[in-house]
């Protein structure tokens, strides 16, 4: 177990290192510096600014400074929001994004599993078809479109829920729903096909032959086995929610990190772009690692300690 964990962590660090390095060089590859768009900056001030942001150092020293910054978790100041540092922006925006993301994730997981289980139990009947139609729509309609529609109908036309901002629980409803749609659909389909496969397995017949209640069989035997593969998809799912949040936050004016990120892209605020990318990558890679570990703990067929004794 420790050895496996160690191996995974090393891979994680390698990936992070690649991302961090790639981010740096990609940003540096852009012609012109961050100040080229600001007209009429006298040369001395320009030089002073460049010195402040360490842009006058040779490339490899800049890279080392950057790496040092990442490791000490000092991501530098923002270029466009002159009074804030990147760290401050992350600390400000991330809790909001985390709230939105977590809500959406819970919605997706519970909604998706329930939908998938019902569809599987009523295989080929109307519940199955309607659930799968909903799922396919959820997967096909991009999150930002769904968000726009929600905003248009629920907020603007019918005035049922707030249009934008993040000032209370009712403000979180539309954004979470929009963000959860696609992951929920995916989980629903996956759960459904796993359930159908599991329900056709022999051990379900054995359970029935033992005279157990239908409910017990469904929950204790079927669902548990059907859900295992779903756990493996949680990693990519979290990644989806994370990137989906960028646009949802923009549409609903949610003051989260995603919105900052999108703004920084538009403004070409390079330190923010780099810092946020690094931050997101760390979160994602760690989440995926946790999910994978969780799976190995939950599935009794996977033994990491010693290869099964027989």
């Amino acid at each position: 177990m420790i050895r496996y964990l160690g191996k995974r962590i090393i891979f994680m660090l390698i990936s992070l290192f690649l991302i961090v390095t790639a981010t740096f060089f990609i940003m540096k590859a852009v012609p012109g510096g961050p100040f080229t768009s600001e007209k009429n900056v006298p040369d001395e001030i320009k030089a002073a600014l460049e010195a402040k942001y360490k842009l006058n150092l040779p490339m490899h020293e800049q890279y080392l400074e950057y790496l040092k910054g990442v490791v000490t978790w000092d991501l530098g100041p923002s270029f466009t929001e002159k009074s804030s540092t990147v760290n401050e922006m992350i600390n400000r925006g991330f809790p909001v994004s985390a709230h939105l993301g977590a809500q959406a994730l819970l919605l997706a997981i519970f909604g998706g599993i329930i939908l998938g289980v019902i569809a599987a139990l009523k295989h080929n009947k109307w519940q199955d078809y309607s659930a799968m139609v909903i799922a396919v729509l959820g997967l096909s309609v991009p999150g930002f479109i769904l968000a726009s529609f929600y905003q248009y109908f629920f907020a603007i036309q019918w005035g049922l829920l707030p249009i934008a901002k993040w000032e209370g629980f009712e403000y979180t409803i539309l954004p979470s729903l929009a963000l959860a749609a696609s992951p929920m659909a995916f989980i629903a389909r996956l759960t459904r096909s796993n359930m159908i496969e599991v329900l056709g397995q022999d051990y379900i017949k054995t359970a029935k032959a033992k005279g157990l209640h239908t409910f017990t069989i469904t929950v204790k035997h079927a669902i548990r086995n059907a859900l295992l593969p779903v756990i493996t998809y949680l990693g990519p799912l979290i990644a989806n929610i994370l990137t989906g949040a960028f646009v949802i936050e923009r549409i609903f004016g949610v003051p989260g990190l995603g919105r900052e990120f999108v703004l920084s892209i538009t403004n070409r605020d390079y330190t923010v772009i780099m810092g946020t990318t690094v931050f997101y990558s760390i979160i994602l890679v760690v989440m995926i690692l946790i999910v994978d570990m969780a799976y190995t703990l939950v599935d009794p067929r996977i033994k990491l300690a010693d290869a099964g004794k027989e």
Binding site: A209, K210, G211, K220
Partner: protein, 331 residues
Amino acid sequence: MERILEVKDLHVSFHTYAGEVKAVRGVNFHVNRGEAVAIVGESGCGKSVTAQTLMKLIPMPPGDIKKGEILFNGENIVKKSNKEMESIRGKDIGMIFQDPMTSLNPTMTIGNQITEGLIKHQNMSRAAARDRAIELLTMVGIPQPEKRVEQYPHEFSGGMRQRAMIAISLACSPKLLIADEPTTALDVTIQAQILDLMKDLQKKTGTSIILITHDLGVVAEMCDRVIVMYAGKVIETGTVDDIFYNPQHPYTKGLLRSVPRLDLNRDEPLTPIFGTPPDLLRPPVGCGFTARCESAMRVCQEIDPELNEISTTQRAACWLQHPLAQNHAGS
């Protein structure tokens, strides 16, 4: 002899997108208390469907019991609801399936799979059920049962898994045990062990057994009576001696002839029964075996024979038994 199970004129069909498949077309047999009865036949003859219908395990949307009665302990199972069946399954009737690899839940310990039934049917406490589970594992010959009870199926070998299955099915001491090809998926040496185990347990507990198989060797080892099925019907029944030494139906004779024997000449080819069973989507009007039978007669194509009594213990459904056919020296 007390009859613990009686099946009368059972008809089971499956409604598929291609039409109605008549899997069981009028099956009659009985099982006495304490006996081991074999149901023999090739793939597709309806033996598994019959067995699973005895416990109403067939999913009822595509499946459908069209006619007939199944009398277990005097009560007609066909009329029972699923809820009522839940108290019969596992408790009064137990079942062992063919492939122990896939018949056990991979994410539950063997112990839990045994105690589930005990807790439900016999209201045992967790602790008492666990003790009984260990007892059962010992009874089926699994060493170190206290350790094994916490293990998962993938940690057991094939033979041991089947033993565990037997333990699960016998947990609540059912009166009838249905074993659906219990040894087909196992090595020959393990087969022998499992059969010995089952014989042993049967003597000890007095459970009646229905053994479904296509392997005549297994039948000879274990059973008192044999029921031969073909194309959804019972075509011959009798004691083991009747069937092996005095088979009457051409199909039964063909089956026995096709078994490879140690005393045959090495260069002699094996004698199969040519052809394939009829399509049960459009079952034949007459006897189902006509197309493959060397002694086929006109009447065989037109009318399906009923089971005729040949002796007090043996019956066969064949027109060769008819007085009018006796003149042709029926093979």
